[in-house]
Symmetry: C2
Subunit: 108 residues, 2 copies
Amino acid sequence: MNDIKWTQKEKSISRAAFDKAYRNECDDIIRTVRRKSGSLSEPKEIWELEDYLFKKRKEIDIKYDYRYSVLIHVFGRLVREGWNTMDGLKGLEEEKIRKIQIIANMDF
Amino acid sequence: MNDIKWTQKEKSISRAAFDKAYRNECDDIIRTVRRKSGSLSEPKEIWELEDYLFKKRKEIDIKYDYRYSVLIHVFGRLVREGWNTMDGLKGLEEEKIRKIQIIANMDF
């Protein structure tokens, strides 16, 4: 998919959708951290929280890759995981939408 | 200090004091995590919390070293930092108490 072209308008839609997904997922992490920290009582739970955050950080570092060469796949995954909706990608050309939808529907 | 002998009674006092200090410090971390997570709003603050926990984990792994060859130094540090009190070490022989107190009073 390296040769897919992105118009200026598409780049703008993509950036906004990408940032929104990142924000959605981070908000979800914040809710989880609040819930976990509210029920912290044993020392080992502190380190479990650190494990959780460490894992999320690595996962997010890998997942949120804004290179146009991989963006179709990235959006497919973000839609599949619920951080983006197909609606949020409206305005991208039909072929891109179709590919993103296929990837989003894949059963991993 | 490698040749310092610890009686059974001293070992029991030390273990209890050591565990209490660990618990005190972990409780302090729990309070900090609750405060920080309560005010989380931006994604970067999530990763700052992870940095904090990662740093604390390393610090605690190094600090809480229960080898009798280093325990005088460990207690000195724990008293200096406020996780143990000299009162909690009552029952150790006078020479150990004196050394712990000297280390606790050192200005780092």
